[in-house]
């Protein structure tokens, strides 16, 4: 009896997951399919297979400029956000102090702020200190937005650490810096790499804040909007597919690192 019911429930749950996945990925797959279609407008039936839209974007210097800008910003943001996130997470792991909950709430706050408000605030603030409208300003804004993600990932890893490990290192003659370097960092290494990938992916995809503060140094998502406003072109599908591939690659790397954290990278 219960066995029958479980089969029904299991079936329904699987169907539900499948529906969710279709819901999420159908537009992306659609975009991917149309990016390889020779027709100018996304309509059925499909025309013949073609790489012309990819060729067009690869020949477009503006796309390349946007792409390099995105990668450049993403790489620097990943390093800054992961460094800040590590500091925040370690502070939480190591110290108890009055106002710690307020500290944690503030540190993890940025992702909960609507991006438009965040972007406006960033623009207002950065222009007041004459830092708006450059690559640098996107880096600052994305650094703020991405640090909480890095902090959350590294905090999770630190929570799995036996606090005695740190004390054992001190007890064996390692001072606090040596212990940070030889115990805390190796232990959190998988999480540090995961944080680097995730924060890079977040910066990669982020549009609204970059749109506000980037000025002439547009990142790829801002470029895409430019395309959309100009004309409807299947080039959008091609760029979108490439951007999606880049992000999903970073996320998959991060997931692989976080999935089995008990087996940290061991030096042979």
């Amino acid at each position: 009896m219960t066995g029958n019911r479980n089969i029904v429930i299991n079936g329904l749950l699987k169907l539900h997951i499948l529906a969710c996945l279709v819901f999420i990925f159908a537009p992306i797959i659609g975009s991917f399919v149309f990016s390889l279609n020779s027709d100018r407008f996304p309509s059925l039936p499909l025309g013949h297979f073609s790489l012309q839209w990819y060729r067009l974007i690869l020949e477009d210097p503006f796309v390349w400029a946007g792409f390099f800008n995105t990668v450049f910003v993403g790489a620097i943001v990943a390093v800054i956000a992961t460094t800040l996130g590590f500091g925040g997470a370690y502070t939480d792991f190591r110290y108890n102090f009055i106002g710690k909950n307020a500290y944690l709430a503030l540190a993890l706050l940025p992702p909960t702020i609507p991006v438009v408000i965040m972007g406006l605030a960033m623009l207002a603030f950065l222009s007041r200190i004459s830092l708006s409208g450059g690559t640098f300003s996107v880096i600052i804004a994305h650094g703020v937005m991405c640090s909480p993600f890095a902090m959350a990932i590294i905090r999770l890893r630190l929570s799995q650490m036996d606090p005695d490990l740190e004390a054992a290192s001190w007890n064996l003659g390692g001072n606090e810096w040596a212990t940070l370097r030889h115990v805390i960092m190796p232990f959190t290494k998988p999480a540090i790499f995961a944080a680097l990938f995730i924060t890079m992916a977040v910066s990669f995809d982020e549009f609204a804040v970059a749109w506000f503060v980037s000025g002439l140094h547009e990142t790829l998502p801002v470029k895409i909007l430019g395309f959309l406003q100009g004309q409807v072109s299947p080039r959008i599908n091609a760029i979108g597919s490439l951007a999606f591939l880049s992000s999903i690659t970073l996320i998959v790397f991060a997931q692989m690192l976080m999935r089995n954290p008990s087996t940290g990278p061991v030096e042979k």
């Binding site: 005695d164 004390a167 064996l172 003659g173 390692g174 040596a178 030889h182 232990f187 940290g264």
Partner: protein
């Protein structure tokens, strides 16, 4: 005597206090540990034994009082500047390092060259009989092997003192006994001081030269295992050791070499030589060990009482009979199975129990 003790001692605690907030974890503790001594600190959880050990390691700083290591006052000295390695209850081996790298860690932190580090680490791995696992990950080792890695890692710097915090508590009984003998012979070979914190009486008594019994942040008794077992100082220690029958009564009159004591369950005699600084009317508490209790079917015996059987427990070649006096006090009698065979030991049956007045021990601390 006292001076000599001081020069031979490696550790001295001088009215050490440790408070966490308003709570005393350790409350005025004084003792010394001799060079090459195996000292066990024993007590139930929360008695302050681990806090005492952590203060020796430099992981906690005393709130008050002084700690001397090798003649030097070490209050406020960071743990990484002391040479007081600890073997942790959780072992705290580094999971991201191999066995050999774990053992090398203390040397690396002290700036020992790589060549020397490897050589010394391997020597200790060999001594602990785990050289073949040198390149394994920690997760690939058994409990006993991990224990040996933890010991090698702590001893590789060749310290004068080793601190051990319940290191055997996670092992099964068989392995525990084996590791006890490893620890004992290791300590004798090296001739260094071991300070061993445990809640287990069998571990403490089988390995230690001296045992410190703590409760609620204070020391209840310090002595060799034999002294503590034969002559517990107070009711806490006697109850903690768990094998003694405790009686409390008032001294009523002295006849020859015996004092008569009036207790709720009757009047008993004890050897007057064991009663010091007490006068007629004073309260005394004495114990009679379970092996020294004699038991007969019925009949009134001098220095005896009538008891009711509660139950029986088999302990190898002997049995422990749990009985209750008329006033409700619980007593234990330990005898061979033969001695019990002639008696009716079913629950509820009555027996006559008596003991030799010379086999009583008066608790001096009560």
């Amino acid at each position: 005597m006292n001076d000599q003790m001081t020069t031979n001692s490696i550790v001295k605690l001088d009215s050490v206090v440790k408070k966490f907030g308003d709570i005393f974890a350790v409350e005025r503790v004084d003792f010394e540990i001799g060079r090459g001594e195996f000292l066990a600190i024993m007590g139930s959880s929360g008695c302050g034994k681990t806090t005492t050990l952590r203060m020796l390691a430099g992981l906690e700083d005393p709130t008050d009082g002084d700690i001397y290591l090798d003649g030097e006052r070490v209050n406020g000295k960071a743990t990484w500047d002391r040479d007081t390695p600890m073997v942790w209850q959780s072992l705290a081996l580094f999971p991201f390092l191999t066995v050999q790298e774990n053992v090398e860690f203390g040397l690396k932190m002290r700036g020992v060259s790589k060549v020397e580090r490897i050589e010394r680490a391997r020597r200790w791995l060999e001594k602990m009989q785990i050289l073949e696992f040198a390149n394994r990950n920690i997760s690939q080792l058994s409990g006993g092997q991990k224990q040996r890695v933890a010991l090698a890692r702590a001893l590789v710097t060749e310290p004068k003192i080793l601190l051990l915090d319940e290191p055997l508590s996670a092992l099964d009984a068989h392995l525990k006994v084996r590791m006890q003998s490893v620890l004992s012979s290791l300590q004798k070979d090296l001739g260094i001081t071991f300070v061993y914190v445990t809640h287990s009486m069998s571990e403490a008594f089988s390995m230690a030269d001296r045992v410190v019994i703590m409760s609620r942040g204070k020391i209840e008794q310090i002595g060799t295992p034999q002294e503590i077992y034969r002559e517990p100082r107070n009711r806490f220690v006697a109850e903690f050791l768990g094998s003694a029958n405790i009686f409390t009564g008032a001294l009523s009159r002295k006849t020859g070499v015996y004092w008569t004591i009036e207790a709720p369950d009757g009047s008993f005699e004890i050897n007057a030589g064991k009663v010091t600084n007490k006068n007629e009317g004073d309260s005394v508490t004495f114990i009679v060990s379970a092996e020294n209790m004699n038991v007969r079917p019925t009949g009134s015996q001098p220095n005896g009482i009538t008891v009711t059987v509660v139950g029986e427990e088999f302990v190898g070649a002997t049995a422990i009979l749990f009985v209750e006096t008329e006033s409700g006090a619980e007593l234990k009698i330990q005898k061979s199975h033969d001695e019990f065979s002639s008696l009716d030991t079913r629950p509820g049956s009555k027996l006559a129990v008596h003991w030799d007045p010379d086999h009583c021990h008066v608790l001096p601390g009560e």
